[in-house]
Every structure is written in C-alpha cells, then in structure tokens.
C-alpha cells in the first residue's frame, strides 16, 4: 500500500502523518527544503525534494508503484499537471487534487474520466463554506458533524456556567430532560475527546456532542438554553472567496446577508455578483458600524476575511455586542482551540476541513462516512450493520463494546427513521450505525462490526 502526497504544507503534512501511522508507505514531494527537512524529522515517510509537476521527481517518489496520488500544493496547476502525469503515463487508480481557482469551476469537464480523470477535486473555500453552513443549521453550535447524508447530526455545544448540564453526572441527565431522547455521544475537554460513562461529570467549558436528527430539534436546543429561532439573518465579515460563496449560498436559502469588506473595488465586484446581499464598505472594523448595522439583531456573525487576527478580533467584538452565534475562520492550527476558549463559538480551519474530507474519501469498505474530529484522535464512523456481525439482534447493553467508543445513532433500514439508541435498543441487519470512537478503540470496533476500516 503506497500513497504519494504532493506538497508538504499543513494539509500535506497532516495527511502524511495520518496515513503513515496506519501502515501505509507514504512518499512526499515538496520543493521547499525547510519543509522537507521538518517532515523527514517528524514523520516516518520518504521525502523527495523537487517539483510535483516534474516527471523526474515523481519517478524518484516511486510513482510507478503508487496506488493513490494526493496533490495538495498551493498551486492548482502543479496539482493538475501531477494528476495528468499520473493518469497518462502511469495508471494510478485513485487521484485527489486540490483545485481552488474559479476558472476551473466552469470547465469541470476536464476532470472527467476521459481527460484528467481525477476522482476527487477538493476546493478548500467550498469545503469551508459547507462546514459553516452546517454550523449555521444548528444555532449556537461549536462543531457540527453530519452523518448518514445529514440525517444524523452531532451538534457540539459549549457548556456555559448557567447551562443545565454543568456539574451534572451523565446518569442524572434523563431526570432533567424529562423523557426527551437526549444522548451525549462524546465530550471534548481541553482538546481531549472523552467517551462519557454514567458517572462522568459534565464540566463548565466542555464541548458536548449531542445527537440530533435532521429536523429543527427545538426541544434539544431549548434544553441547552439556546434560542429556538432558526438562522435567518447573517453578517459576514470579509469579501474573500469564501465570503462570496457563502453569501451566494445563504442567499439561495433565503437568508438575509450583510457583508462587510474593506476594499472598495472588491465591494463593487461583490455587489455585481451578489443579488440580495447588502455589501458594506468600511476601512476598518468598528463598533459604530456594527451598531448601525444592528449586529446584535443578527442570528450569526461569520468572519471569513484573509486577515486571521482581524477575524478573531471582529468575532469577539460581535460576540460582546450580543450576536448569539459567532463563527470565525482561522488558518493557524495552534490558534484553533485558543479561539474557542476566549469566546468565539465556532472556529473553522479550512485546512483541517480539507484533511478530514480527504481522509473520509479514502476510507473503504462498507463504511459510509468517516469524519475526523478537528484536532483530536477520534473519528465518527458510519457502517452498515451486517447480518454476520456481532452488532445485530441483541440489545446494545449486552455487546462487548469497548469503553472508548459509543453507538451514537441508528438509521433504520427502510423507513430511514433516526433512532437515538439506549441500552435496550436492538440493531437490525441493514441498519446504518453511527459510531463515535477514539483512534485506539477502532481495532475493537472493527472486530464487532466485522468491517475492516482500512484506507482505500
């Protein structure tokens, strides 16, 4: 099993790290010497110094025996040329390329089987936009994971001091929810993911992952102390590509959007492409502007400018002024958890989003989706319950289930009803089972579901 990663930026690095930890031979091509030496110091992978679009360096990286190419350099053209070489000279079965240029958007045909034959085109801006939309669908959420085509969702909520959950043991929760089906699948505490057991306490500052279906889940939101209103008005800070795509998509959903951008020329451009969005031009972020535009009446504030610090600071300002749901894009991995701590509801790291999208794509077998939780070693896995596996025809509590994994949801075969499982729930063959598992519990989970969770 051998994978070739082109580009050792953040995305390439994280993918190489994950794959090399799973007994896959990883080759990495990178043209920057400093990045190469850092990579070879830290990871057990083969590095090649050179350009990803040169046949010579591809050959050095054993391309003839590679089963998968993942081209994630900053340059679309290098990624495309590498994929082109991979599909014309050597027939590599799977090819993934990061392409962000708008020019290619209108010419998607070139990625087809007859031409470049790329299996997955990944666009960081679009992926980030999708993630933001998912977050907006669950008001107040810090993280949102969609499984089973979005029929099951895990909303990650920050536990505030006044939350009804703070200080409670997990086993006491049924009393306070008064019969409502409410399952906490996992708790994120200081960057560590815990699979909670009955006696575990929920602490202030935790992020709890609550299982939800595709509806509005008003009862759950109300219980969590979040206003019931669905997202209807949004303010976007930053007229970046992400900002533009996001505004377009929100417009289509009928959401009212206000967009702030500092560059006047870009504002004019945006006002031409966007139809219902109010484009605001302001040199810098200030309180007066936010007050005039009634940021406190907005359902959400999303900072997506190219300036990372401005994103963080403007989000904090909006939060203080009373916007209930504040989301910020942060590219620096080390900042991500920090920003959550200082009060921004949700942080989207486009690079992490790309990494988890790629990992999800290359998992094989009867696994439908695998979503890597941002910066932890846990995964959400969705598998089909097989007739032969130990999952079916017995109540969940009688399974030998590992303590670091939990069945978070079941989608019934046939009617597609989503069930939040309890101890007495049984699983039928053909159901889709959603499992939340820490990385080292995955081998045990594999055994029970009798599916190998291998990569491709």
């Amino acid at each position: 099993m051998s994978v070739l990663v082109i580009g050792a930026g953040d995305v390439g690095f994280m993918i190489a790290k994950r794959l090399s930890e799973e007994d896959i031979d990883v080759y990495v091509i990178e043209k920057d010497e400093a990045k190469i030496s850092r990579l070879s110091q830290m990871l057990d992978v083969q590095v090649v110094l050179g350009s990803g679009s040169s046949v010579e360096s591809l050959e050095k990286a054993n391309i003839a025996h590679t089963e998968m190419l993942i081209a994630v350099t900053d340059s679309d053209e290098v990624n495309l040329v590498a994929s082109f070489i991979a599909s014309t000279f050597i027939d590599i079965p799977t090819k993934i390329a990061r392409v962000r240029g708008k020019d290619y958007e209108s010419a998607k045909k070139i990625f087809d089987k007859e031409y470049l034959d790329i299996d997955l085109i990944i666009n960081p801006e679009q992926e980030a936009t999708k993630t933001i939309e998912n977050l907006l669908d669950i008001p107040g959420s810090q993280d949102a994971i969609l499984v089973a085509d979005g029929r099951v969702r895990m909303g990650g909520f920050n536990v505030m001091r006044d939350s009804p959950l703070a200080g409670r043991a997990l086993k006491d929760i049924p009393e306070i929810t008064r019969g409502m089906r409410f399952l906490i699948a996992a708790i994120m505490r200081q960057g560590d993911l815990l699979i909670p057991k009955g006696k575990d306490l929920i602490l202030e500052g935790d992020c709890v992952y609550v299982v939800m279906d595709q509806g509005k889940n008003e009862d759950i939101l109300a219980f969590m102390g979040i206003r019931k209103r669905h997202t209807q008005t949004v303010m976007i800070y930053g007229g970046s590509i992400t900002g533009e795509i996001l505004a377009q998509r929100l417009e289509k959903k009928g959401i009212k959007v206000k967009l702030i951008e500092h560059d006047e020329a870009r504002c004019i451009e945006l006002s031409e492409t966007l139809t219902h969005t109010t484009v605001l031009n302001s040199d810098f972020m200030n309180r007066e502007l936010l007050e005039n535009e009634r940021v406190f009446d907005m359902d959400a504030f999303i900072a997506v400018s190219y300036d990372e610090e401005a994103n963080i600071l403007s989000s904090l300002l909006a939060k203080r002024m009373g916007t209930p749901h504040v989301i910020s894009i942060v590219n620096n991995l080390d900042y991500t958890s920090l920003v959550n701590d200082i009060g921004v509801d949700a942080v989207v790291n486009p690079r992490m989003v790309v990494v988890s999208r790629i990992l999800q794509f290359i998992r094989k077998g009867k696994v439908y989706t695998v979503t890597s939780l941002s910066n932890t070693d846990a995964e959400v896995i969705e598998v089909e319950a097989m007739e032969t596996s130990d999952l079916v025809q017995r109540p969940i509590k009688s399974m030998h289930w590992p303590s670091n994994a939990i069945i978070a949801g079941i989608v019934r075969q046939g009617n597609g009803r989503v069930i939040v499982p309890g101890g007495n729930t049984t699983i039928d063959p053909g159901d889709r089972v959603i499992i939340f598992a820490k990385k080292f519990a995955i081998p045990t989970v594999e055994k029970i579901v009798s599916v190998k969770l291998d990569f491709f």
Partner: protein, 481 residues
C-alpha cells in the same frame, strides 16, 4: 527532556543485548566450556536485571522521542551496550580488570578491534564469538538492528537513525525506517553468509570463518587467532578478505542498487570512484615505497593490498607488521586511517564523501581569490551540496581535530611515546584498532594505563557516532531547560 522515555528504551535495549548473548552461550555449551557458560548465564542475568530495573522505573512512558531525546538515547545506548556487554568478559576472569573488559567490549561494538588481550587463543570459544558478535552487531548499528527486529520501538522521525548512521547524509532506501533497517540488515546478513562460505571453502575452520566474517563485514578486526589472518598463510584467504573488506567499506545503498541489477550505479557514484581511486593509488605508492621489503612483486602485492584495504576500511586485520615498512609508507597508512570508508558503510573514519566535499570547498576558496566575483557552487554526486551539509562537515572536521589533539595530549601525559600516543588516538577515533609503534599490528593495548583506556573508549564511541551525537549530549546547553 523526557528521561522516562529514554530510560524505557534503554531498558529494552539492555534486554535485547541479553538475548544476543544466547548465541555465545550456546557456543559455550556446544564446546563444553563450563566456566564461560557460567559467565554468560551471569551476563544474561545482568542484562535482563538492568533492563527490568530501567523499565520498572519508566513504566508507560508518554510523549514522543524528539531530537534531544534521540541524541541522548543513542549516546547512552552505545555506552550501555559496552557496560553490560562487558559483563561476560569480566565474569569469565580472563580480563585483569573491569576497565579492560569494558575497553574490549566498546572496541567490539564500535568495530574498532583494539584488544587488551595478549594471548587470544587461550580464550574459550564462547568469549571469542562474543567478541566477534559485538563487532558484527555494532557494524550496521545496534539501534538500526533494534529497529529492524523490534517493531515496538516506534520512532517517529529520522533523528535516531541519523544519529547512528555514518556519513553526513542518510539515504532512506524505503519509505519506512523499519523497512530500511530490515533491508540494510538483510544485505548485511547475506554478504556475511557468503563470506563465511567462501572462507570455509578456503580451508578455514568453520568457527574461525564465522568469527572472521563477522569482523570483516563490520570492518572490526577482531580475530580468534593471535597472529590474525597471517596465521593461515593463504593467498586465497588474504584475497577473499581484502575484497570483502572493500565491499564492507562501500555505501550499502549502492549494494542495494547493485543487488537489484543496477551495477552501473557503482561507477556513477563519485564517492565510490574516489574510494577506489584512493585505494589503488595508495597501493601503488606503498608498493613502490616498500619495494625492498618483499621477495617478489606477487608477495608484495598480496601483503600491501591487504594492508591498505584493512586500514582504509578501518578494519584493522594484519598479515604483516607494517611497523617495519619505510616511514613514508607508514605516514601514508596513518593518512588512510583518517580517511576511512564511504558514508553509509560499516567503516569508520572521516569518510571519503566528507573529505571530497572538504577538498572541493578548499578548492573553491582558491578560485574565489582568483575571481572575487565568481559564484561557485560545490557539487557532489552531480548535485549541489547544501549550505547546511557543508557547515555540518566543516564543524565536524573542527571537532574531530579538537578531540584528536586533546586526546593525544592526555595520552602523551600518561607517558606514551609520540607515535604511540598520536596513532592510538587516531586508530580509536577512526575505529581501526591497530596503530603504529607501541600499538602496532603485532602489539596490543594492554600496556596503556587505565585512564588512557577510558579516554580511548570515549574516542571510539565518539568516532563511531561521528562526534556530534556525543558532543551534543555533553554540552551544557543541551541540559539547560
């Protein structure tokens, strides 16, 4: 500094060395040597106790092996290997003091081949094979071997591997370190077996063949015979060993390419061409210089090629006493002691590649004086040498010189004569074994005072780990928080 993790790894290393002693133990049992058997049983016990002791105090280590821990681990692992590997020698009673046993073991693991024994043949077979086995294990690297056979030693990056492997750069033949380590050891084992077979065909006793094959492939130089290879008086054996010493001195990455059918790679390699060039020119010079010492040209060629190969590859076998050669020939040999073999081989010394790059660097300085505005890049193996590598090599050369001068000074203070003091330090730093004068090929290190043995042991480890690894650990900045 994650001391716990380092201690845990050292514990495993220790148990591993205990397992390696099973081979000499079974040899003892086979030859019915009861005293030596007891020494090895006690030795294995010591290794396992040390290992369990270290592991007991470092259970469940957390965190990763970062490069600081890597340096510390590698330095300590080699020291520990010497300390506990000396146990059977010490228990056997054949060595007058523990320092002597330690010197012999470190000389073994570092593939030096300097011995304190006066009558080697008096030793039981078990101890003889353990001497050779330490060399064979140390040749390709104790840690590389551990990585190859013990999968739980999951090291993240290259630092440990690099800290132990000879040469300024490191070729990773396969994407994973464990695979690379296995591959290198596979080639090593294969060539060693071939050599055992060839020596046995030449009439060498099977036990001796194994010992000599171990010592040759590791470029070590320990022999179970008092008069080393000379005791066989065989042109065939001399020739076979000359060829295999030269093979062991070549980068194993080239052997890997060669075994896969790409024989041209040898001649494309600049380092290989330089290495063979130095060998042939050296032989020609010494042949001319020693023309009055031998009866016939054939005999001269037999002895001179063997001796030059033995010194250049830092093996240290001897078929004749070159102390009686003309001074010019001896100085030539002293020069070869410093040169050593190729990077990525089992040989010691400065390495041909480093010298080649240093030579190019010096040449560039001259060109720059002639053409002040010229931009000249230094190339090696047809590709430019990066500034980092160049600086590392220059620094290496400086530290090598400093260590050489200070160690020679100490040896001089201990009352050794000039040539003995200087050549013993060079012979130990380059992991050769025999030097000149008082430590020449028919002499040994028994007469060196205890402090001198300790200094030389340090030189052997510093030379084997290419100085930086050891000096880094000894520098105060390393321990500062």
């Amino acid at each position: 500094m994650n001391i716990r993790l380092v201690a845990n790894l050292l514990g495993k290393e220790s148990i591993f060395i205990g397992f390696a002693m099973l081979m000499p133990l079974s040899v003892c049992v086979y030859y019915g040597e009861s005293d030596a058997t007891k020494a090895f049983v006690a030795g294995i016990g010591a290794c396992i106790l040390t290992g369990m002791f270290l592991n007991h105090f470092s259970r469940h280590p957390t965190g990763d092996l970062r490069h600081r821990e890597g340096f510390l681990f590698v330095s300590l692992a080699w020291t520990l290997a010497g300390v506990i590997g000396a146990a059977p020698f010490w228990f056997s009673g054949y060595f007058p003091s523990y320092m002597d046993a330690l010197f012999e073991t470190i000389s073994g693991f570092t593939t030096t081949g300097a011995s304190v024994l006066t009558d080697i043949e008096a030793l039981p077979h078990g101890l003889l094979i353990w001497r050779s086995l330490t060399q064979w294990m140390g040749g390709m690297g104790i840690i590389v071997l551990t990585i190859a056979v013990l999968p739980f030693l999951k090291v993240g990056g290259m630092q440990i591997f690099r800290a132990e492997s000879p040469g300024p750069t490191m070729d990773k033949l396969k994407p994973r370190i464990a695979q690379t380590a296995k591959l290198l050891w596979g080639i090593y084992v294969g060539v060693t077996l071939t050599l055992v077979l060839l020596l046995a065909i030449g009439g060498m006793d099977f036990f001796d063949a194994v010992c000599h094959a171990f010592a040759t492939m590791a470029t070590g130089g320990f022999s179970p015979r008092n008069t080393s290879i000379a005791s066989y008086h065989s042109v065939y054996i001399d020739t076979v060993i000359t060829i295999f010493m030269l093979i062991a001195g070549v980068n194993f990455a080239l052997h890997y390419a060669g075994l896969r059918g790409d024989v041209k790679r040898y001649f494309k390699s600049q380092e290989f061409r330089w290495y063979m060039g130095i060998f042939f020119l050296g032989c020609l010079f010494i042949l001319w210089n020693t023309r009055h010492c031998f009866d016939s040209l054939f005999q001269a060629t037999q002895y001179v090629t063997f001796q030059v190969a033995s010194i250049l590859t830092t093996t240290g076998f001897a078929t004749c006493d070159y102390v009686f050669w003309p001074v010019a020939a001896q100085i030539m040999l002293l020069g070869f002691m410093v040169v050593g073999g190729c990077a990525g081989s089992t040989a010691g010394g400065l390495k041909v590649m480093r010298l080649g790059i240093l030579f190019r660097y010096a040449h560039r300085e001259i060109l720059r004086l002639i053409h002040p505005n010229a931009i000249i890049s230094i190339k090696w193996e047809n590709s430019p040498v990066s500034q980092d590598i160049l600086q590392a090599i220059l620094g290496f050369f400086v530290f090598y010189t400093i260590l050489f001068v200070s160690a020679s000074l100490i040896m001089g203070m201990l009352g050794l004569d000039f040539v003995t003091a200087v050549s013993s330090v060079i012979a130990c730093m380059s992991n050769i074994g025999p030097g000149l004068a008082g430590v020449g090929p028919v002499e040994n290190y028994a007469h060196i005072p205890g402090i001198g043995k300790a200094v030389l042991s340090f030189c052997m480890i510093a030379g084997r780990l290419e100085i930086y690894t050891v000096l880094v650990v000894l520098s105060p900045a390393f321990w500062r928080m």
